[in-house]
């Protein structure tokens, strides 16, 4: 297990390399001149020269890239063009807001997806199953930023139950997180249904039925436990893609998180913030995927013992 865990970390190294490369390119190809952005139009040539040297912009590209990686490893993400503040001072509160948003979203995803999938699997081809599967199809096909707008219209603007934008109280998080939960929960529901139906066809389930166990017991004790492996993995992977989805929802909702900051920075050509946002979100996804794989290996001995 430990060997597997370490090997999985090693596999992430090329991904981390790609993340820093992509983030570096986002900075390098930004049309705004970093020196002018930081020093202002009226800076003296000497001052501009000093900033250029400090940032290493007089060095060749590959050296600049290595310097960037070095800075990232030390936790230094540069200075925002707009606010002239360190990027990390913007990043921390934004990351906290995103973390809160994601956590509630995960809760909704599991609370919606899991029961829907189980109900579908235990009543296959019933009207209930059809309704759930239709919901899954719609949840996956509708643009997520459109769903949240519809929810805002109904529950915030018409009924006045929740705030329509921003981050004011615990109520603020409900609508955006519910949207995320509906979209990503749809996939959980589908996987849960398939996985449960697979298991329900197995011999030991028939045995459990035959020896007179209650239906409820067979479903939850025997079937769900064995169907859990793909479900847990999917939940892990979904949390990873959720971090991408936050970009859209945070923007609609003016949620002060990393995703909205990233979009704003792209529009304002604030390259250091773009860079920091990409590194932060992508690294979080990498860590999540590693943890998911660990969990998968832990739950499924075939993976941890079978692979070389």
């Amino acid at each position: 297990m430990i060997v597997y865990a370490i090997r999985r970390i090693n596999q992430a190294i090329p991904v981390l390399f790609a993340i820093t490369l992509l983030a570096f390119l986002a900075f390098y190809f930004n049309p705004a001149d970093p020196v002018v952005m930081l020093a202002g139009e009226q800076a003296t040539p000497e001052m501009q020269q000093r900033i250029r040297q400090n940032l290493g912009l007089d060095q060749p590209v590959h050296v600049q890239y290595l310097m960037f990686v070095g800075r990232v490893l030390r936790g230094d993400l540069g200075t925002s063009y707009r606010s002239r503040q360190p990027v990390s001072s913007h990043m921390l509160p934004a990351f906290r807001a995103t973390l809160l948003f994601i956590s509630v979203s995960i809760l909704f995803m599991v609370l919606i997806g899991l029961p829907a999938g189980i109900l579908s699997a235990t009543h296959p081809h019933s009207p209930l199953d059809n309704v759930v599967m239709a919901g899954v199809l719609l949840g996956l096909s509708a643009p997520i930023f459109w769903i949240v707008i519809i929810l805002i219209y109904i529950f915030a603007l018409r009924l006045g139950l929740f705030p329509s934008t921003g981050f004011y109280s615990w109520k603020s998080v409900i609508l955006p997180a519910l949207t995320m939960g509906m979209h990503y929960g749809a996939i959980i529901a589908r996987v849960t249904r398939t996985s449960m139906l697979d298991v329900l066809n197995d011999d030991y389930i028939r045995t459990a039925h035959a020896k007179g166990l209650a239906r409820r017991n067979v479903f939850y004790r025997h079937a769900l436990k064995n169907a859990a492996i793909p479900i847990v993995t999917t939940i892990g992977l979904q949390i990873g893609s959720m971090l991408g989805g936050t970009i859209l929802i945070e923007t609609v909702f003016a949620w002060p998180g990393v995703g909205r900051m990233l979009v704003k920075a792209i529009v304002e050509r604030d390259a250091p913030i773009v860079q920091g946002g990409v590194v932060l979100i992508a690294s979080a996804v990498v860590v999540l995927n590693i943890v998911t794989d660990w969990l998968y290996a832990y739950l499924n001995p075939k993976v941890r013992l079978g692979s070389r």
Partner: protein, 291 residues
């Protein structure tokens, strides 16, 4: 028993197999309806410049933000442009971006899948590692980072979206090629002295066709969603071009008083993507009746 049936099916003449496939596909009414919707949509998109009731770019501030009425079935937007015309024109843009992105995916991804699967070796390992890395990114983050490097706009949006599609095709085609290339007819062709190119394109590639069609319907839906998302963020199709995504975004400002500005284009996106997903599932079931 199912296996036996399938084996026999392989031996049937091509015409009979196609007829069976079509019958299986249309047995599901939902799939048939979705196919009709998609055909109508493609026709609408192709004919858009001729069938819009009005010029979708002509603004008229005197009649801005009108509710749906007899002359403007879906009302007018914040610049007084006819919504029906803009939604119809939007279908053209959505499908254009979708088809180009998927086309690049098929050509580039298919080619990569063919050569990695066929030749294997170091080239295969290196390319597949790169593809793993691309797939480890959340697709939206990848797309908007690439757009931030290339700059916003419809062409760059298509390129960025296709970058997330290429790996999917490369992987799929590679897996088919790896399983096909060990079969007798490939070795037979080799023994007859056929070149690698000839074997790859004439003997191996046709076996990828069925899977390719299924994946393409699904990725087309994803590409359309991605374009809508990018344009919604202001990073894709630029105004005044009527993209469904940017129309939803503009409508957000008038949500309380004129919700139809956002709702209608969103419904359009959903209708297309739902139809594509239903057809994709239907095709998969019809091609592989075991499932």
């Amino acid at each position: 028993m199912a296996d036996q049936e399938l084996m026999q099916e392989e031996l049937l003449p091509h015409k009979v197999r196609v007829r069976r496939f079509v019958r299986r596909l249309f047995r599901n009414k939902l799939v048939a309806v979705s196919l009709v919707i998609l055909v109508v949509l493609v026709l609408t998109a192709v004919l858009a410049p001729w069938i819009t009731p009005e010029d979708p770019y002509r603004s008229n501030l005197a009649r801005r933000l009108q509710p749906p009425s007899g002359t403007h079935i879906l009302g007018t937007d914040q610049q007084g442009r006819d919504m029906v015309s803009r939604v119809i024109m939007g279908s053209r843009i959505a499908l254009y971006v979708g088809f180009v992105a998927v086309g690049i995916g098929i050509i580039v991804g298919g080619f990569l899948g063919l050569i990695t699967g066929y030749f294997g070796g170091a080239l295969d390992s290196v390319l597949m590692r790169i593809i793993d890395v691309i797939m480890a990114f959340p697709w939206l983050l990848l797309v908007i980072t690439v757009v931030s490097i290339l700059g916003p706009g419809i062409t760059n949006a298509m390129l960025a979206i296709s970058l997330t599609i290429v790996p999917q095709y490369a992987r799929l085609i590679r897996s088919v090629v790896v399983s096909v290339k060990e079969q007798d007819f490939v070795q037979g062709a080799e023994a007859l002295g056929a070149s690698h190119l000839r074997i790859m394109f004439l003997h191996v590639a046709p076996h990828c066709f069925a899977q390719l069609i299924v994946l393409s319907t699904i990725t087309l839906g994803k590409a359309i969603l991605a374009e809508a998302g990018l344009s919604f963020l202001g990073l894709g199709v630029q105004p005044p071009m009527p993209s469904w995504g940017s129309m939803i975004s503009v409508g957000q400002d008038y949500l309380l008083t004129h919700p139809h500005l956002s709702i209608v284009p969103g419904l359009a996106v959903m209708l297309v993507v739902v139809s594509l997903n239903i057809v994709g599932d239907g095709l998969r079931d019809a091609i592989d009746p075991k499932l």
